[in-house]
C-alpha cells in the first residue's frame, strides 16, 4: 500500500536547488525594495537603516574580537543545551514509551509545562538563582526540550509493529533490535525535533543574554540599542537570523545522508 505513496510523482515538493533559488530571489527582492525605500527616504534612517548601512556596520563588527566572542558564547551554549536536551529526552521518551504508568503520570506534567514559554521563566529564574551560566543553560533546556521529547515519543510509537514481529520471529537480540530497528525508525522524528528545538534554544539564549547582559549576541544587541547605534543593532539581528538558519540548515543537511531511505528524501531526490 505504502508503495503507492512512495512512488507518487512528487507534485507538491520542490527539489532542494529550486527551493534555494526561489529563496535567494525572494530575499534579494526584499533587500532591493528596502534599499529603494531607504534611499527614497520612505524609511527614516533612525528607525530602519538602509541595507548598505547595515552591511557597513556588519563589516565593522566582524573585525572586533567582542563580536566573535559573543557569537561563540551564543553558539556554544546552544550546542551544549542541545546535548543536554538529548541526554534528558532520550531516556525520558523511552521510559514514557515503555510504561503506561510513566506515560499517564507524566502526561499531565508535560502538557502543563509545554505551553510555558521558556522566555517567560527568565525573570523568575534570574530572581531566584541569579545570572549564572547554569541558569542560562537551564532556561534554554527547559524552553526547548518539549519538541524533542514529543517527537521522540511519537517516533517510538510509530515503529511498525510488523518490523518488531519480524525481529521476534528471527530472534533478534536486544542490541540488534535497538541498532537495526529502533534507532533508524526514530531518526526522522529525532531530526525534526532537533530542528525545532535548536531554533527555540537559540532564541532563548539570545533573549536571556539581552535581558541579563550575559556575554553573547543578545547583550551586544542590547548595548547597540542603548547607544542608539541602529545600523549595528540591525546587523546583530541579521547575524542572529543567519545563525538560526545555519542551525536548522545543518540539521536539514544531516537528513539527506541519514534518511536516504525515507520516502520524503526519495521524493526530494526524484524531484
Amino acid at each position: 500500500m505504502s508503495q503507492v505513496v512512495v512512488n507518487r510523482h512528487p507534485r507538491g515538493t520542490l527539489s532542494r536547488q529550486a527551493e534555494l533559488t526561489l529563496g535567494a530571489v525572494g530575499l534579494a527582492g526584499l533587500i532591493l525594495l528596502w534599499q529603494v525605500a531607504s534611499v527614497a527616504s520612505l524609511l527614516s534612517e533612525r528607525v530602519v537603516p538602509a541595507p548598505t548601512d547595515v552591511a557597513g556596520a556588519l563589516g565593522r563588527l566582524s573585525v572586533t574580537a567582542d563580536f566573535w566572542g559573543a557569537v561563540w558564547a551564543t553558539v556554544s551554549i546552544t550546542v551544549i543545551a542541545m546535548v543536554v536536551i538529548l541526554l534528558i529526552a532520550v531516556p525520558t521518551a523511552m521510559a514514557i514509551h515503555a510504561s503506561r504508568f510513566v506515560e499517564h503520570s507524566t502526561w499531565f506534567l508535560i502538557e502543563f509545562l509545554k505551553p510555558i514559554p521558556g522566555v517567560a521563566l527568565i525573570p523568575l529564574a534570574l530572581l531566584l538563582w541569579g545570572p549564572t551560566d547554569g541558569v542560562k543553560l537551564f532556561l534554554i533546556v527547559f524552553g526547548s526540550l518539549w519538541p524533542m521529547l514529543t517527537q521522540l515519543v511519537y517516533g517510538l510509537r510509530e515503529i511498525p509493529g510488523l518490523a518488531l514481529e519480524m525481529a521476534r520471529v528471527y530472534r533478534f537480540g536486544f542490541w540488534q533490535r535497538i541498532h537495526r530497528i529502533t534507532i533508524p525508525s526514530v531518526l526522522p522524528f529525532t531530526l525534526t525535533g532537533l530542528r525545532i528545538s535548536v531554533t527555540i534554544a537559540l532564541i532563548i539564549a539570545i533573549v536571556t543574554e539581552y535581558i541579563v547582559g550575559m556575554s553573547g549576541l543578545g547583550s551586544l544587541l542590547a548595548l547597540a540599542q542603548l547607544n542608539g547605534v541602529v545600523d549595528q543593532a540591525f546587523a546583530l539581528l541579521l547575524v542572529s537570523g543567519l545563525l538560526g538558519l545555519g542551525f536548522s540548515g545543518s540539521v536539514a543537511a544531516l537528513s539527506g545522508p541519514l534518511l536516504f531511505w525515507h520516502p520524503s528524501q526519495r521524493e526530494r531526490r526524484n524531484g
Binding site: 500500500m1 505504502s2 508503495q3 512512495v6 511498525p160 510488523l162 518490523a163 514481529e165 519480524m166 521476534r168 520471529v169 528471527y170 530472534r171 533478534f172 537480540g173 540488534q176 537495526r180 530497528i181 533508524p184 531511505w261 525515507h262 526519495r266
Partner: protein, 275 residues
C-alpha cells in the same frame, strides 16, 4: 521425543479482550503438519487466519490449547521457524540493502560469518534475484520485495515456513509467478510450508492438504487431502475436473459457515461441524 508431527495444533483458541468487549476469534482449532508437507489454510477475510498464524509462530499466546513444534510447546518463535508476512514493505527494513536484510537474522552461532555470503547468494538465486543483494528494497517492485522477504526466510534455513497471504498485495501476473516459484522451491528443497490464504484457487492449486477454516469463532471445517498430481501447472491442473470439485467443496464449506449470521461477541458459541 520422537514427535510424530512437525506441527501439532491442539484445541487452539483465541479470544481478544478489548476493555469489556471479548471477541472470540478461534475455537478448538486442531490439525497437524508433517515434515515436507505443503498445507494451505483457507478462510474468508477476517476469519482469524493471521491470528492463527501468530499463535502457531509464538507471536501471540493462544487463550486455550497449544501448538507443538517438533514436540515442544510453542511460547516464543522457535529458532527453526520463519514467517513470510503479507506486508513485505514493512517487514523488510528500508535502511538496509536486500543482502543486509537477509543477513540480519543469521546469528553467529548457526551461521559463521564466512559462510554467510554463500548462503545469501544461494537464497537470492532460489527466488530468482541473483545479483540483487546490493539493492535497497524500495528500489524494487512489490513482487521482487516479496521474493527478497522469502529469500530471507530461506537463508534462515527453517524447518517450516509460515506464509500469511504473501501474495495478496501483488498484481495477478506476479502472483501466479510467485505461486509457482514457491511451489517449485518447496519441492526442490523439501521445505515444509504452512500457507495461509483467503483465495480458494490459490489454496487448492498449491496445497497437498487444504485446511478449511470457517465459522465464528473459526474452527477447522474440514481437512481435505488434495489428490491432484504432484506436479502442478497453472493451466493443466486448473483444467482437471478434480480441481473443480475440490474448489467447489472448499467454496461450499465457506459459504455454509457464512449463512447463519452470528455475532462474534455472542456468549454461547454454536458448535462447529467437525469432520
Amino acid at each position: 521425543m520422537g514427535a510424530e508431527h512437525l506441527l501439532d495444533l491442539q484445541d487452539l483458541g483465541k479470544t481478544y479482550s478489548t476493555g469489556a468487549v471479548r471477541a472470540r476469534i478461534l475455537e478448538g482449532v486442531e490439525f497437524t503438519v508433517d515434515r515436507g508437507e505443503f498445507v494451505c489454510v483457507v478462510g474468508p477475510s477476517g476469519a482469524g487466519k493471521t491470528t492463527l498464524l501468530k499463535c502457531i509462530a509464538g507471536l501471540t499466546a493462544p487463550t486455550t490449547g497449544r501448538t507443538l513444534f517438533e514436540g515442544e510447546k510453542v511460547t516464543e518463535p522457535p529458532a527453526k521457524l520463519a514467517v513470510i508476512f503479507q506486508d513485505y514493505s514493512r517487514s523488510l527494513l528500508p535502511w538496509l540493502t536486500v543482502a543486509k536484510n537477509i543477513e540480519l537474522p543469521l546469528q553467529k552461532a548457526r551461521f559463521p560469518a564466512r559462510e554467510r555470503p554463500g548462503i545469501i547468494a544461494e537464497a537470492l538465486a532460489n527466488v530468482g534475484l541473483e545479483g540483487k543483494g546490493g539493492v535497497y528494497p524500495w528500489e524494487m517492485s512489490g513482487g521482487m520485495q516479496q521474493r527478497a522477504a522469502i529469500a530471507r526466510g530461506l537463508a534462515y534455513q527453517p524447518d517450516v515456513l509460515l506464509m500469511d497471504e504473501p501474495f495478496a498485495a501483488v498484481d495477478a501476473q506476479t502472483r501466479i509467478d510467485l505461486e509457482d516459484l514457491v511451489l517449485g522451491m518447496s519441492r526442490r528443497l523439501g521445505m515444509t510450508v504452512l500457507f495461509v490464504t483467503h483465495d480458494i484457487d490459490e489454496a487448492v492449486y498449491m496445497a497437498d492438504r487444504v485446511v478449511v477454516l470457517s465459522g465464528t469463532p473459526a474452527a477447522v471445517a474440514r481437512d481435505i487431502t488434495v489428490d491432484l498430481p504432484g506436479e502442478r501447472d497453472q493451466v493443466q491442473t486448473k483444467n482437471l475436473p478434480r480441481y473443480g470439485e475440490l474448489r467447489a467443496e472448499v467454496f461450499g464449506l465457506i459459504q455454509a459457515a457464512k449463512r447463519p449470521a452470528m455475532q462474534r461477541t455472542e456468549t454461547v458459541p454454536a458448535r462447529r461441524m467437525v469432520p
